[in-house]
Amino acid sequence: MSRIGFGFGGALGRVVRAGVGRRRVQTLVLVLSTMMAVTSAVLAIGLLAASRAPFDHAFSGQHGAHLAAQFDGTKATSTQIAATGHAAGVTAASGPYPTVTVDQGHVNSTALGGDVGLPPMSIAGRADPGGPVDDLTLLDGHWVTGPGQAVLSADVFGPNQLVGAVLSFPQLPGSPNLTIVGVAQSVTGTADAWVEPAEVPALRAAGAAPTFQMLYRFASAGTDAQIVADRGTLADALPAGALTGSLSYLNAKLSAESSTAPIVPFMVAFGVLGLVMSVLIVGNVVSGSVGASLRRIGILKALGFTPSQVVRAYLAQALIPSAVGIGLGVVLGNVLAVPLLRREDEVFGTPPQVVAPWIDVAAVCAALVIVAATAFAPALRAGRLRAVDAIAMGRTPRAGRGRFARRVLGRLPLPRAVGLGLGSPFTRPARTLAVAAAVVFGATAVTFAFGLATSLQRVHAGISRDGSADVNVFLSDGGPDSGTTTVGPKGGGTAPAAADSAAVAAAIAAQPGTRSWSGVSRYELTVSGVSGATSVQLLEGDSSNRYELISGSWFTGPGQAVVPTRFLEVTGTRIGSTITLTDKGTAIPVRIVGEVFDTSDQGMDVVTDLRTVSAVDPAKQSHEFDVMLKPGTGHAAYVSALNNVLDPIGGHAQDNAIRSKDAIFVLLDGMIAILTGLLVVVAALAVLNTAVLETRERIHDLGVYKAVGMTLRQTIAMVLSSMAPIGLLAGIVGVPVGIALHDYVLPVMGHAAGTNLPHSILTVYSGVETVLLGLGGLAIALGGAMLPASWAAATRTAAALRTE
């Protein structure tokens, strides 16, 4: 090894340390840009992995059912149904299992605090928990060994100790009882309880038709479209109408991933933005550093440094600060992931998750490789320079480029200092383009973040029903949460309010200041093809603004319903389809007329006119009323006056002025603000770095300008003007790109959350906002150039003139 050294010790190490320490701005830019990119990458990949891992693992282990199909036993025999297990595309099947839906049951358990009502339950008859599809995991107790026994799904009451408790169904013929002998879990929730197949007929209401369930795995089941196609194949294999409903595994997967999956697309967008900016900035900084150190490189070579050592020196000067940034990025990414993963843990009830170590390692390695690859080209250029040329080039400022632009600009009616500044970007077009690209990405990030935050705000307003009303009115037996006095996680029986709903509605309508009102109640009913209970919202009054319409129309009378996107996907229905609600054994056909934006209850709500159900069950009435007031109506006075009327008839009004924001939206807003802030800072630092390089390279010219009378303000104006075109360009290019990114990412986020998005959430950029965002690029550029401009203004003229 020579005395100069081939490693990074000795002279080479000192050169690298000096290079890193001397160029503090460039070092800071490298640290922050790589930190930003790695933070976003760790967050995006970490959340993606964390959101998918638990479900994927369980689905694989249980040979989960891609589709759970429900068949009408009066239209197809069990043999015919069993034969669908050999239909085209089916790779494995289990069943047919006889099924029944029971409601108005009770369970008596100390773990649940006594006798509680049960939600409507889907019960399947299975002889054993295993099989080629939906291999159930027995969490407690044992499988059914005879009549009068049931294994309860863990989805119904969670991990409570229920073995030994008795399920009773007094409304059914013979008032059957079932003793819970075990608790099991199906990854896709194929049933709420399992009994022996022979037990099922005893649980069926008088006159109810027999039904069967088949569970399938398919060769192609990655998308909704493939599942729909597979479902079609099954339907075609049986007599018409035999297939009455189905449940896709994608529904369960969506539920499992719903807390973090929507976050991933925008994290990926920020990650990609950060990565590209990082590459641009690393390239810009290292080539700028080489360009500004030509004389130094020449001297190093004259002293005996080999080309390889020079290349390594400049690579190391990029890698050392980048490594610091990458390390900080990994830490920050892990720290920011904690609150998001905590939500995931709460959903699954799993132990606290952290970002998988392999993600940290991969992010570090990938970032280092990208930085090294980006820095290699300018470092190689430094290594190939001849010593004499490097010294000569470093001593003499390069001129020649951009002269035409300067001449043209010199003829424009602009202050001379501004004209001189505007000409600067043309002197080094490659550097200008690189920094312009960085600012474009900064402007893109700001535009994207603005749109995202606005859309999320509207999403929040859209899904927060309480948020849309000025005043809420509750019936006296109820409160804000007791519109349904349900028991169990899905709700069940309801306790109609003692107050007269119609009288309350009339009082609200007659109250001066009322602009509009709507009444709402929620019941758990069964829907054909959907296992367990489905939440059905019954509305009256002016309810059409309650949800944002995505497609179709609002219902105009009884027998019509609107449903969320996910309901359509899960049930394989579409606008115009008719579904069957079952209330206490009475079938109520309802036609779907619209698709609404609603993510509550995993997007499985059915929203219909109160009269749809009250025609069959007059006891069903509104439990809560939302009131919108006329403009100028005082909330407090209105509530007070209305309560005077409502008190005697059993209603109570309250002002809805206090509206809390869901924690996830606060979290997302914070996340967007942090990532956007980082991107903007990095973009501004890229400008700062360029302005510093320009100022250093043209320090002698600066001395001349000042010697011939350029004032402090004119100097600042000149430096700021040199970056202004870059900012304007960034605005012109970055804003449309940011809008396009928003328009692409939002639907992807919506899809991850299981819903399409209404037009109002997607269209968030107004003309004025677009112009203001366009000026954001200019603000970033001017902000980044302000410090170098001040330095330039403060530079002593005599010292600048001596600099060559």
Binding site: P397, A399, G400, G402, R403, R406, R407, G410, R411, P413, R416, A417, G423, T427, H700, D701, G703, V704, Y705, K706, A707, V708, G709, M710, T711, L712, R713, Q714, A793, A794, R796, T797, A798, L801
Partner: protein, 237 residues
């Protein structure tokens, strides 16, 4: 009698803890004079020039030009002073390579806010007077040293300064170009332009200065009129 154009009163300049670059120096220059400051390297002559130009500040004493305390000016005040009252010519010309000859010459006028048309007319007049108008649209890199220095002089004179400061104006020129610049400065002084130049070039001092001041270790070693050259404006001899 009019107040002197330049007046240095007991001016000292010390850099860090070293010996004084200029030591208790007093000096006055009348309008119309062409004063050459001579001296070996490190004698303080460039420091004196920089202090008069407002590029450097004395550690002690005061510098007045046209009665204005130059040493008390802020950055903006210094810049305005330089563009309105003085013109500077440097050894290495200090022309801006990215600007044409005409644009270089017009620059101080434009920075002063002079309308472009007037600045262009004044630049054309100067370039013609100095015999380089054919190079108006050329870039400085294509000109000879003498021509570049003429451009620098034109730029220095664009705002009709009371004082022309020249720092080794022939130091980077060959013999012919040096002679050319000497004649130019001499002509300017004969037309009434006050000139203060710093030089090693005794020939330059003798041919175009009306007075020579020799500095040694920051002090005036001699201050004498040059009898062979008599400017029409007279001056304090």
């Amino acid at each position: 009698m009019d107040a002197p154009l330049i007046e240095l009163r007991q001016v000292s300049k010390r850099y860090d803890d070293g010996p004084p670059a200029v030591d208790d120096l007093s000096l006055s220059v009348e309008r119309g004079e062409a004063v050459a400051i001579l001296g070996p390297s490190g004698s303080g002559k460039s420091t004196v020039l920089n202090m008069i130009a407002g590029l450097d500040r004395p550690t002690a004493g005061s510098v007045l030009v046209e009665g204005l305390r130059v040493d008390g000016l802020g950055e903006s005040g210094s810049a305005k002073y330089r563009r309105d009252r003085i013109g500077m010519v440097f050894q290495f010309f200090n022309l801006l390579d990215d600007l044409t000859v005409a644009d270089n010459v017009m620059l101080p006028a434009q920075l002063s806010g002079m309308p472009r048309a007037r600045a262009r007319a004044r630049a054309a007049e100067l370039l013609e007077t100095l015999g380089i108008d054919r190079h108006a649209h050329a870039y400085p890199g294509r000109l000879s040293g003498g021509e570049r220095q003429r451009v620098a002089v034109a730029r220095a004179l664009i705002n009709r300064p009371a004082l022309l400061l020249a720092d080794e104006p022939t130091g980077a020129l060959d013999t012919a170009s040096g002679r050319d610049v000497r004649e130019l400065l001499s002509e300017l002084n004969q037309d009434g332009q006050t000139i203060l130049l710093v030089t090693h070039d005794i020939q330059l001092a003798e041919s175009c200065a009306t007075r020579t001041i020799r500095l040694v270790d920051g002090r005036i070693a001699s201050d004498s009129a040059v009898p062979s050259v008599a400017g029409p404006a007279g001056g304090a001899r």
